[in-house]
Structure formats: structure tokens, C-alpha cells
Subunit: 451 residues, 2 copies
Amino acid sequence: MKTVLILGAGLSSNALINYFTEHAEEMNIHVRVGDISLETAQSKTKGSKNSSAFEFDVFNENQRLSEINAAGIVISMLPAAMHPLVARSCVDLKRNMVTASYISQEIKDMDEEARAKGVVIMNECGVDPGIDHMSAMQMIHRIQARGLKLLAFESSTGGLVAPGYENNPWKYKFTWNPRNVVLAGKDGARFMHNGKFKYIPYQKLFQRIETIKVPGLGEFEVYGNRDSLMYRETYGLRYLETMFRGTIRRPGFCEAWDTFVQLGATDDSYIMENTDEMTHREFINSFMAYRVDIPVEEKLALYLNIDRNSKMMERLRWLGIFEDTKIGITGLSPAKILQKILEEKWGLDPEDKDMILMQHQFDYQENGSRKKIYSTLSYIGSDRQNTAMAATVGLPVAITARLILEKKIKLTGVHLPILKEVYDPVLKELENYGIKFIEEEITMPMDTGSV
Amino acid sequence: MKTVLILGAGLSSNALINYFTEHAEEMNIHVRVGDISLETAQSKTKGSKNSSAFEFDVFNENQRLSEINAAGIVISMLPAAMHPLVARSCVDLKRNMVTASYISQEIKDMDEEARAKGVVIMNECGVDPGIDHMSAMQMIHRIQARGLKLLAFESSTGGLVAPGYENNPWKYKFTWNPRNVVLAGKDGARFMHNGKFKYIPYQKLFQRIETIKVPGLGEFEVYGNRDSLMYRETYGLRYLETMFRGTIRRPGFCEAWDTFVQLGATDDSYIMENTDEMTHREFINSFMAYRVDIPVEEKLALYLNIDRNSKMMERLRWLGIFEDTKIGITGLSPAKILQKILEEKWGLDPEDKDMILMQHQFDYQENGSRKKIYSTLSYIGSDRQNTAMAATVGLPVAITARLILEKKIKLTGVHLPILKEVYDPVLKELENYGIKFIEEEITMPMDTGSV
């Protein structure tokens, strides 16, 4: 009987742990779940047969080495910064490892040694990054196998509240780590459009938005997601002239969010003064010039050129940013204060469901015409515990880990899930869970651009 | 005969080295000037009597310790990051030290040890920081000594091209480190206005400008200079309700500079693609959306809402940013490319002179009325070698060092020049060099704000 060692039992581990406890007998495995909080680990294994929960401290070297040594495969769902430590031990002890996080340079540097030792460290196996890579590479390889030339690749993903539950003026709620949402976009975006390199700084990111249409769900906004250029290398598409990755929000979100960007309210680099006594209204006012002859609302409208009767102003007002509510905590950065204000409004209600939405667009040339394939995934969560986010992050990690454990994936070294032997079986099994892309193809005149 | 050890012989050391070589006989000192380039050091001592030049590598521990050990006083004009290393050796070897740079936490932490060993490490003795502290504290202490309450303190400094030489549409040239000019303002500004804390992020800094009037020189623009709040502590003015420090530019500069901020052209956090083949025009275009139906100039005007026939557009055009000139160097960040473009236009001509301009405003209450003292320094350099910047940085450093060497300043520990025993004699001697503030006082109605 082999042990599947799962390190980290946070919200994103739910579907992952369930997958293994449900398949434990059939797979003849023991599921061992470690978390810094024993209680959290126990609440996830729920005492199911063939499982055990334990308190795990990644910095306890003895514990880390003995747990990894006893494992058939290691899955790290710990904070991303801790992965290199786990990977180091996995390589040393010749154990295979899977994570859902972006690969780091430290882990990249273990490639040669991992190969030499016959170990695989498989990164970016969640949803974004993860399912995005797998589904994109499957289609790209399919187009290339037909001998056709790819002209453009654009891919966007969003973690959103599900249709029917988007019942606030922002049509947005926190379905994932609120801090990451507040800090999103800080590095701006870099991409390629019709052979031209394009760079958008943070202060313009939420103004330079694109619109996508999703069958059955309507229109959405997309803003650029960090460095799309490096994926030309990763995907083997150096020749590609249009390459763009984005983040999906519902219409109106980006324009209103840009208010906080322009004010400086998403800054996390310094601590504000007297934040315990500061009110929401004073917080917003502190980013604008001293002036006592007009109310803060009017000052904001003048400062950022907002129509006072617009939906955008309604969105801002609804968040309570003009209210005299005290923040009540000392030593916070602007970003932390904004997060606190947002958490009071953007929390999920007990009945709320979330949605993962992903849309790829592949343009290619065939018989003198330009064709475009839309490949769209929408997946709705079951409830607040069993979210779409947890399922789409956890299931591909679980399936990849199982395929490695059962030696159906035989790679060695440090990898992303961009090879056919990984993405084909993972995407196939994901379909059993309703995680499935719908494809649509259109033909365009040859001189039409995109994005 | 004591040795004055000067480490670093760059542009800013000229006036400093001249001061000591000119006073060497009278002071009975030997002036020892070390630089990473022996040639640079030699060109500054010019073989004058009582001086020697040598090649100095701060990371050569033997050399560092033996030179410092042989010195009567140590002046570090090295890059700021190297000061802690020099300070560490000075404390270990019980040698006094003076620098013109902002104090670092590492040096602050040496305070107790320096006191115990009877050593003084005097920081921020240049112009800004330096003369600004000295002149402000002198006036603040004078107002406080009269038993009057300070209501507001605002202070602005600029390194500019002198009147008569501001012969380009920007009325600006590089009179100091171009890289620092390109990156200026990145941390935004924090200050206090009428009891309210105010925060301006980088993306609004060059839009939120103030105007000051300088007698005989006309109007100037001021943008916020980093964290003014911490000086309430440093200056012993926690009660103060208005505290602002700014940077001075000529009218129109900030609005036009903001173009580069908004585009993202001052970003230094990533390397652009293919910068060797890129032209100035392509550089600017890369920050805007793909669009081929209008020229780049028009795209920029639309993107940032610039009037195409404005002076601002003339300023941008004059810089050559729309030209097809190749950048010709690989691996540059946007900020480095912008710096290269600017250096071609903003370099000083052989006959150009620079100017240091500093203006303090002190508001205080007396007999029921609000009074305001304007205290203004304008100082024009002699030529491209003997600049106002070098004089106003080097002379206060030299005078402070001399006062310490001659035991007229007897402080121990880590200090800024904010104590009477430092600023009084330094400011007095600076007047001999024409570095002198002119004061003007006005009376205002009590309810008038400022900034």
C-alpha cells in the first residue's frame, strides 16, 4: 500500500483530498494529510478509512524528511514560497512531487538533478496555471499536427461568483484569496499583438480592457495577466505574432476598480498613520488634496472625472467607502485597509456558488482563410466549501499525481503539464467531473486582427 | 599633521576636495583622495601640495582599514550603499565620519556603539538632505525660542539649469545623476496638510503639483518628495499640522513628464524585448494599444488626452521620442531606454550653468495673526565642472568635517545636522561662499491654509 502525502489542507485542498479518500480502496493507497493546524487537517480527512491527519511544520526537517521518505508521492499545497524546500527534500529522497503553483527559479534549477535521480517535479497543475496550459497545448498540438500555422493565441481566466449569485452592483465577490485580488495586476501586463510587443503598466491596466463573449453567459471584461511573452517560449511558439493572457471580470468591474488603483488605495508598500482611528471616508479622503468646501464624494468625482450619477459611483458608494465606519486596526497598509473594507461587502453568502470561467482563442490559417477556435470552460461550484476554484485546482493536481503514482506518466525532471502524455489523460478524466471545454469555430477574412 | 581622507572623487566631490586643498596649509592637514579610478582621484587633487591621490577599493578590507586607521577624519562620497561598510570600520577604529547621503537603518543601528566609543557618524550633510535640515532647524528653533507656535512647514528643493541657460522647451537639463531623475517619485509622497495625513501615489504625483513664487526668479512647480511625515519626528515637530517637502521644476515640466509615468516608460522592473532593434518611436508605441490607422503622435494624444498643438506636445516631440532613431543596445528596461533618449537632449552644453533652488515656508502664530516666513536660497554654479550641485553638496560636508576635526563639534553617536552646534557654524561659513538664504515675512488672515 502506497502513501499519498498531501501537505497543506487549506480551502484549495478540499477536492484534492476528497478525490484520494474516495479512490483510496480502489487505488490501494493510504492518504496522509498534514497541515500546520491539526484541526484543519482532521476536518478534511473527516476520519475516512485509509486516511490519517497530522500536524505538519515544513521547517521541521526531521518531520519533513521522514514524511516524504515514507510517501509514494508528495503533493504540496503549501504557500508557494515553501515549495522549493519540499522539492529539495523530494529530489534528495527520490520522491515524485506535484504542485498547483507557478514554477520558481529555485525549482527550475533542480531539473538536471531530478532527471539524474529519476524523479519528476510537476508544477502548475491547478487551474490557472494548470488546466489553461493543458487545454491550450492540446489544441495547439492538434492544429500543428494538421500542418497548419497558428496565428494568434489568447487565453483568459476568471474566478467569479456564479450566474444568479452576482447580486451586488459589482457583480463580484471574493471567491479566492482576497489579498491576491487587491494586489492583482501590480506587475502590469506584457504581451504581443500582431508582431508588436506591448507593455501596459499597472496604472493603465484596468483601463486597457478587452471584451469577450461567452456562449450562454454573455459579455465579460478582460484585463492583461502579467507576462504573456514568456509563454511563447514555454509553449514552443516563438514565431507567434499575437499572444495574450488575461483575467476575466464582469462588465463595469475594471472601470470601478481603477478608482482604487488611481487613488493609491491598493499600495502595500507602506503603513498609514493612525489607521485605528481612521474611518472609511477618511481613508478615501487621505488620497485626495485638502479641501473642505465640498464633500468627499464630489471631490472624488472631480479628481477622477467620474459622473456622479453613474453606475460606477453607485458601485463605489455601495462598498461603504464614504461611510464613517472606523477601521479600528493599527499599522495597516492602504491595500490591507481596502481589503478589510471589501471583505465586509464581497464575502460569499452561505448559499452562494462560485464559477471558474476560461476562454481560449486560437487563430490559424487554412486554405487562405483565417479561422478562429473559441474553446470555453465554465464550471460552477457546489457550495461555499466545495467551490469551483477548489475543484478546478485540486482535481487536475490529484489526477496528475495519480498518473505519476501509477506510472502512467513516466517523465523525469522538472516539468509543466504541457506534454501530451500529461494533458491528454488529465483532461480526459477531468471530463468525468464536468470540467470540459466547449469548442466553436468561425472563419474570418484574412486581414482581421484580434484582441 | 592630520589626514583628511576623502573616499570617492566623483563630480560631487569637486568643491569638497578644493575646500581642503585650499585650506590645507592653514589647517595643517594632508588631503588624501581615494577613488576606484586613480585617474579620477588624480584629476581632482591636481597634484596640489599637501595632497595625495590613490586607487581605492572599498571592498579591499586591508586597504579600507589601513586608510581609515591613518585618517584624522573620514568623508565618504561613495555610492550610498557603501556607507555602512565605511561606517562600520570607522566605529571599529574610532574614527569620525561625515557623509552627504540619507541615513540608513544599518548606520542608525551603530548609534549606541559609536557613542560608547566616542565617535561621531554625521549623515545628510549635503544640500538635500543637508542644507535643508540645517536652515530649517535654525529657523524653527528661532521661532520656538520666541515662544511662538509653528503652524506649518513646507520645504522644496530643485537642481535646475540656471536662468539664461534654460533654452529648451522643457527648461530642464540633467544637472545631476540622470538615472535618479528618471526614477524620481517612484515611492509617491506622504505629507500632512492642516492636520490631515495625505498620500499621493506615483501615478498622480506629477498631476498634484503646487506653485511657488521665488523673488526675482518667478514661478516654479513643486511635486511631493517622498515621506515628509517622518521629519515631524526628526525635527521634533510631532504637533505640526502641515508638513510638506517637495521637488522644484520649472512650469510645464511635471505635466509633460507625467506622460512618461502614465505610459509606463519609467518602469525599471523588467527588460524589454529586442531593444537593440527598437526605435524611439517603437518604444513609445509599445506602451499603447495596437492600431495602424493613425500615427503614433495621434495615438498618444488620444490615449493621454493631450492637445496636439499644445506646448506639452512640443516638449515631447522635441525630445525625439517619435523619431526612427535606433536605441541600439540590448537588454534595457523602459527607464534605461528613456534615460538614453533624454541624455541625448538634456545634456549640459559647455557654457551651461546649473542652479540650486531651495525655498522653506514657515507659518506661525503671533498676536492672533498668522505669519509666514519665506526663506529662499538660490545658488548658481560657476561652470560644468564647478556646479552649484557640487558646491552645495560638498561645502557643507567639508565645513562639518572641519568642525569635527577641529573639535568645534563634540557630538558622539550617529547624527543628522539638526542641532544648533552643527547648523549655526556650518551655515555661517557657507555664507562666505554665497550660499545664503534670503528671508521675507508676510502676515495673513488666521484662517488661510497653505500648500
